[in-house]
């Protein structure tokens, strides 16, 4: 005798409510996380994202204060507004995390990414690649008779656009740093 009249396939068959209560639009946010540069701190931040099912679109990390041993982690993430709030609160309670800033909501910010492109080819393709690189204000940081390595700095969209242009011209390999971001204006974090 089953005391429950529950339709098959309903989430009542689970010990959990399987329906997603977060029917909200997904947003993209850039977070600046200032952390004590101690062993394992990056693993803590990344582990938080993977463990709680959050997304990482881009991640950049380096020590920015050598005396104070502070690193800045710039992480681009996507989620509904409530998930973004959760991410910030969860980051904030990691012990070696000193500050969490949402550059997307705390006023205007600049975002830049650096990328290196290896493009190989001969003749007209090579000339065209160089011409486009000039338009994108890319620097040539290595050159052989059959290849270039270009350095491009800009928004992620600009780097995507440059990659699209280089592909038919002999794009062999690319490396991207992920986003570094700062708020605009005089005041710092």
């Amino acid at each position: 005798m089953s005391a429950l009249k529950i339709k098959k396939g309903s989430s009542s068959h689970s010990a959990y409510d399987l329906r997603d209560p977060n029917v909200q639009t997904v947003e993209r946010h850039t977070l600046a996380v200032i952390v004590a540069n101690e062993a394992g701190v990056l693993a803590r931040v990344i582990g938080l994202f993977s463990g709680r099912g959050y997304n990482i679109e881009s991640l950049t990390v380096a020590e920015v204060d050598h005396e104070g041993h502070r690193s800045r982690i710039t992480v681009v993430t996507t989620g509904t507004p409530s998930v973004i709030e959760q991410i910030k609160a969860q980051l904030g309670r990691i012990v070696p995390v000193h500050e969490v800033h949402d550059l997307t909501t705390e006023g205007p910010a600049v975002e830049r990414e650096l990328a290196l492109f290896k493009v190989s080819g001969k003749g007209e393709r090579r000339v065209e690649a160089l011409r486009l690189a000039d338009i994108f204000r890319a620097n040539v940081v290595d050159s052989t008779l059959e290849s270039f390595v270009f350095e491009v700095t800009g928004t992620s969209e600009k780097i995507d656009a440059f990659a699209d242009l280089m592909r038919p011209l002999g794009l062999d390999e690319m490396a991207r740093t992920g986003i570094a971001a700062l708020s605009r204006g005089k005041s710092g974090l």
Partner: protein, 587 residues
């Protein structure tokens, strides 16, 4: 400035003494031998040798929950550390302050897959509040002091310090806690004044209010419980609590509705569903509490007092978030209340209590004890009746039906008297926890209400109980089933009882005797009281094997994915016209 030169191993003992630690639960092994050598040469700190590292962590949890002080664990590297993982996760989910010290292979061997090497900080990173690998002896003392600070500050939780063997052997400088640089980690404890005022105004205007309290009140300390009682009694509001918060407000108090949640009381859950003001004090809207999110208390304004900002709006959106320590915030609320000369809406409150009285009349915990088989509820009820007047009683539980029955049928008038694994639901928790409680309170009555399946998961700790003469009472409700699993299979999986019965169970009486303890079997309702009295009278550890009805279900129950007002009641509840057909149905 007290700066002394000593070995790392000595520093560990020194730091524990300076932190006021009296008891350490542990198990030795190769990578912690230098520390064990230091423990051997002193008398200040008592070491309790458990029989499995998981038991050590649960014992430390029991110690911590019953005293409010951090529990301390010392285990070796590799398997010693990995066996501690379940306990760490348990403590993390229930916010219990414990400090676990693990040995590690020497620093120069880390990464070589050395004997008994495991990446302990890597493995335990997600199941601790914070952890450290100490690679220099000079760093050891500051890290140990910081570990205690992090464990007890803000929302409490487990921390782990991994200490390589060469760091234990090497000599360095010891610094005392007061000479250690204070950590930047200092969570906010004072609530926002405007929000506190808003809450007081909401209390003044509320027509159908309810206090919903949790383990945060107990973690905040005895003062928080005192202030909670004052606020509840001043307002005359009803109050319910999560499993974790039982005892913060006395079960004998006027405002008490009983526990809420999946197996909570009918009146508590309906009050949550129908209220117009919900005041969450140190609880976290766990899924066993909320049921279906969309239908959770649809018409209420909600306030949430919590020390952890990440608890706010995690599951349920609240209008009045107050981030702060429960005691500090309640103190402010009461101060504003008095300053404003506040009054509640007495007339509306009277109607609300009338409504609650109607729900109470359903008597959702009613059951029938008849025939020669002991109903598990009856067994717990008799245990309660025969022990409630004991001046110093502590109750632990394992996890499952018996746990819910204990929560439903036992009353707690003080905080820190109830030790149960709430968030993680760890079978095998209760027995070692009872050992930890008894270590902290040698003269108290410590009872572990257990199921036979859970109890067997850490039965080896019987050796610990005997060795340290800990008179813990193991009250096993033996239904030869994994009762809660069986219940779900009956109700939701077409009565296909897949692997939910216990075959080849030991003879618990003989088992007790094999360890040198006392065993009592009770299988007749007529012998129940006598059996319990015999258990209480015996000066030493006892296993009671109480054979109970094998197919009893635990009601009331909110099936997962259902709202609070769609509870299932047991067939004996006085449902009058609320239920259309016989037996247990949705109401």
């Amino acid at each position: 400035m007290s700066k002394k030169q000593m070995t790392g191993a000595r520093m560990v003992v020194e730091a524990l003494k300076d932190q006021g630690v009296e008891v350490v639960f542990g198990y030795p092994g190769g990578a912690v031998l230098p520390i064990y050598d230091e423990i051997f040469q002193q008398n200040r700190i008592r070491h309790v040798l458990v029989r499995h590292e998981q038991g050590a962590v649960h014992a430390a949890e029991g110690y911590a929950r019953s005293t409010g002080k951090p529990g301390v664990v010392l285990v070796t590297s590799g398997p010693g550390a990995t066996n501690a993982v379940t306990g760490l996760t348990d403590a993390l989910l229930d916010s219990i302050p414990i400090v676990v010290l693990t040995g590690q292979v020497p620093t120069f061997m880390i990464g070589t897959d050395g004997f008994q090497e495991a990446d302990t900080v890597g493995i335990t990173r997600p199941c601790t509040k914070h952890n450290w690998l100490v690679k220099e002896t000079d760093r050891l003392a500051p890290v140990l002091h910081e570990a205690f600070h992090v464990a007890v500050s803000g929302r409490p939780g487990p921390v782990l310090v991994d200490i390589p063997k060469d760091v234990q052997f090497a000599t360095g400088t010891y610094v005392s806690p007061k000479d250690t640089k204070t950590s930047h980690y200092a969570p906010r404890t004072k609530g926002d004044a405007d929000m506190v005022r808003a809450l007081v105004e909401a209390i003044e205007g509320a027509k159908r209010p309810v206090f919903y309290t949790g383990g945060g009140v107990i973690n905040s300390g005895p003062k928080a419980s005192r202030l909670l009682r004052e606020l509840v009694d001043t307002t005359g509001f009803p109050i319910t609590s999560t499993l974790m918060g039982l005892g913060a407000y006395p079960a004998s108090g006027k405002g008490w509705l009983g526990m809420l949640g999946m197996h909570g009381l009918y009146e508590a859950n309906l009050a949550m569903h129908d209220c117009d003001l919900m005041i969450n004090v140190g609880a976290r809207f766990d899924d066993r509490i909320t049921g279906r999110i969309q239908d959770f208390s649809p018409n209420s304004v909600k306030a949430h007092i919590d020390i952890d900002p990440s608890s706010i709006n995690k599951v349920i959106h609240v209008e009045m978030p107050i981030i702060g320590d429960v005691a500090s915030v309640l103190e402010d609320v009461l101060a504003v209340w008095k300053e404003r000369g506040s009054r509640v809406n007495g007339k509306a409150l009277k109607d609300w209590w009338k409504q609650i009285a109607e729900w109470k009349a359903i008597d959702c915990l009613k059951f029938r004890q008849e025939g020669k088989t002991i109903k598990p509820q009856h067994a717990v009820q008799r245990l309660e009746a025969l022990t409630k007047d004991h001046p110093d009683r502590y109750i632990c539980t394992e996890v499952g039906q018996h746990q819910m029955w204990a929560a439903q049928y036992m009353d707690f008038d003080e905080p820190n008297r109830w030790m149960t694994s709430g968030g993680l639901g760890t079978m095998g928790y209760g027995f070692p926890a009872s050992i930890g409680v008894q270590m902290a309170h040698p003269d108290a009555l410590v009872i572990n209400v257990a199921g036979e399946a859970s109890w067997l998961m850490n039965m080896q700790e019987m050796g610990t109980a005997i060795q340290y003469r800990l008179p813990v009472k193991q009250f096993i409700l033996n239904n030869e089933r994994l009762g809660m699993v069986r219940q779900w299979q009956e109700l939701l999986h077409g009565e296909r009882y897949s692997h939910s019965w216990s075959e080849a169970l030991p003879d618990f009486v003989k088992l007790a005797e094999a360890f040198g303890a006392k065993g009592i079997r009770i299988d007749d309702p007529a012998d129940l009281d006598e059996g319990i009295r015999e258990m209480l009278a015996y000066d030493g550890p006892v296993i009671v094997d109480c054979l109970v009805e094998k197919h009893e279900n635990c009601f009331p129950m909110i099936p997962s994915g259902k709202p609070h007002n769609e509870m299932i009641l047991g067939e004996n509840a006085d449902t009058r016209n609320a239920i259309k057909e016989g037996g247990a149905v949705l109401v």
